[in-house]
Amino acid sequence: MFNVNPGESSPIWRQIEEGMRRMITLGALRPGDLVPSVRDLALQLRVNPNTVARAYQRLTEQGVFTVKRGEGTFVADQPSMLRRSERNDVLRDAAMRYAGTAISIGASLDDAVDELSSSYDKVVREHRRKS
Amino acid sequence: MKHLLVIAQRDLEERIPVFIAAAAAAALPFAVPLFPAAASFTTKDVITMSGVIVAATFTLLLSFALGVTLIGRDLSEKRMSFYFSKPLAPSTIWFGKLMAAVITIALSFVIVFLPMYVVSPGTWGPGARLEVGLSNLFPACLALLLAGHALSTMFRSRSRLVVLDLLLACAAFYSFGLMQRALHQGFAFDLMQSFRQVLAGVVLLILTGCGLWQLERGRADRLRNHMALSRSLWTSIAIVFILAGGFVAWVVHPSIKDLREPRVFQAPRGSWALITGQARNRGDYRAWFLYDAATAKSIRLKRTTLFHDFWFSRDGKMFGYLQADAPDRDFELVIMPLRDRAEPIATGLTIRHGGRYAISDDGSRVIVFDDRQIASVYDLESRKSIATVRLPESGLVRAFFVNRDRVRIYVQNMPLSSLPVAEKSITAYELDVRTKSLQKLGDYRTEAQAIDMTPGKAGVGFR
């Protein structure tokens, strides 16, 4: 699973949403898999169940999750991940922030790219390990 | 109400140590006969006596202790909020706790009293006395319970308001004392007792009601409980005392027409008479009036004695009586000229209760006889004693002033035997005030059953 950090600028529901998407992207959650119930995820993350419910609702509306009455919430058979343009926007936002931080501390582009590369690997490994 | 029983049961569960203590106390009377000091009494009597004392003391102390902790402890330990966070009405809380307290008291009393009573009824005997004792004990317990609660609320709030409470309590007691004294001056002992009991009962009801009110208004807060209690308590007491005061004021102002079976004492001459009797609808409150049959005018005599220590002059123009602030104090002689618009004249002379006296017709001189056969003549204007003599014999004394300088004194010897047919003798003397000499005039003997002397113009009549 993933953790949420209330100290981040991103609201918790969005962190949950992104966390779920990450897990699907990395294969930790496969199409048709049962997703943790709102209650369980709320207990695990120690957040308000309404927050989890909100994230789940968005994911359901976006076609990432499907709800089967009486059975629970599942990853959709063909989860529609972000369209390419949306994905690029999200990447650009995060990249701008990262670039800004790197520049402000005086790091070179090479250093920044190296660090980015190793961090990407690390996140993938952690996700594989946790799920 | 089901919740009421839940509250009561909870409180009672906590009281087990009390019942254990009661059981221990029940054993005490049986230990008392073992003391050497009790050897001079029969065992049964000792057990009974000490049993009654132990039971009464234990129950009374318990009542006060329960009152103090009833709500007060929860308030000061900030635990009332527990009850107020439940779906409980203040009346449920209050009456539930009261019920538990009353049951605790009753049960404890039975525990302490019963063993002794069953084993050793002793001199008190079963039945009669027990009811009297219980009927006094349980109201006292209730009073201590409620008083303990009120005091606990007032003191535990640690507010200066308690000073006001104490002042008002003193004022209440003082007012009560005034009302009782007013009734006392009319010798209304039965009425005083009824008055006391009714007032006590009303005050207990007020305390019960105010306990409920304080919880309703003050809830879990110490200070607000105190404020609500004080406000409701003193307002209610004020209203009740005003009504009681009104009642007492009405009682102590009867008119002569209100007298039931009045006794009339006519002056030897003239139209004046002393009329006394108990007033209708006023219990045993007694009033005295001077009444002029010629003008139908009546004068109320206040604060006078119960006994007929009054005196009419032979010409029916002077009246003397004894007055005191309270019937158990010494009396002052007061002279009332019997004419229109007369004011009573306080002589400043103190006469002991039961002392005999006579006044001269013009109201200038008084002779007083004390119980040691000493007769003193006083001049009322100068308030000085002008003659003092000692009577040779003791006995019942009657006297009258022939004129302001000569007093005729009759002494009725009381025979040692109290047989009614015994012979009675009366000795007559005359006292000359100017020469301060006592002259024996003669003896009379009679076998009359009762002798009463009424001085007439020329002499004295016997009956």
């Binding site: 709320a42 | 089901k2 839940v6 809830r219």
Partner: protein, 293 residues
Amino acid sequence: MSQAETPALSIHELSVRYGRSEVVDRISLTVPRNAVYALLGRNGAGKSSLVRCAIGQQRATSGRVEMFGMDVWRHRASLMERVGIVAEEGDAPAEMRVGRLADFCARLCSRWDRAAFDERLKRFGIAQKPRFGDLSKGQKKQVSLALALAASPEFLILDDPTLGLDAVARKSLFEELIAELADRGTTVFLTTHDLAGIESIADRVGVISGGRLVLDEDLELLKARFRRIRFASRPVALESRFDTAAVRPWGGGTEAIVTNFAGSHAEIAETAEIVPMSLEEIFIAVAGEGAAA
């Protein structure tokens, strides 16, 4: 208003005065159904008085307090059927054993789940035999919470629920709370000093300072608009571009606590460091230094 619309708690222009000092000064706030409202405030700011008025145990000097649309002072007894209260100090009778306490409460509440109470107590690791007075402060709180939840309340009011709790107990408490929220959608109103703990749980946050409600806002929106912005040098017309709660020198430059940060300000990221603020930092900025106990 329909059932779903009347707020669980509605406070309108509440004032509480002790003698001459105004402890609560015209506070209005609303706790909608199913929401979690956290009231923050320093000691002595008026929180306790407000809570006492909210639960019908103190009469306000002026103003209105309504729960589910009913005046709390007048209808307290019937409202307490639907409300669970966990007091700041364990106020149950000290001589009562925990099990007897549960029996007592069971007989007063129409809905009572003894099994749930027993399970919770097991989860907390508290036996039913000890007397309430012998429990630690934290354990008393846990028992009080278990008692409150066993009655399946629609509305849960907690006064500083984590005070006296160690880390494990605190975690337990939040888990119970979250489970309750998930299972029953209970409305929650709590006062706290544990800002980190409730940061992920509260929907709405209120800050009381000096008797006034200086903040009453959706937590998410609050956190979205507060930022700590660090400039290398003090920018020109800082105050005209932003609403600031504080501006102070930072190293050679300036740090400003901005209260109206919006997406449109993101461009500043090129020349300044923008740091999000935790609830605790926001509270300190709003209510003063040394605020979070």
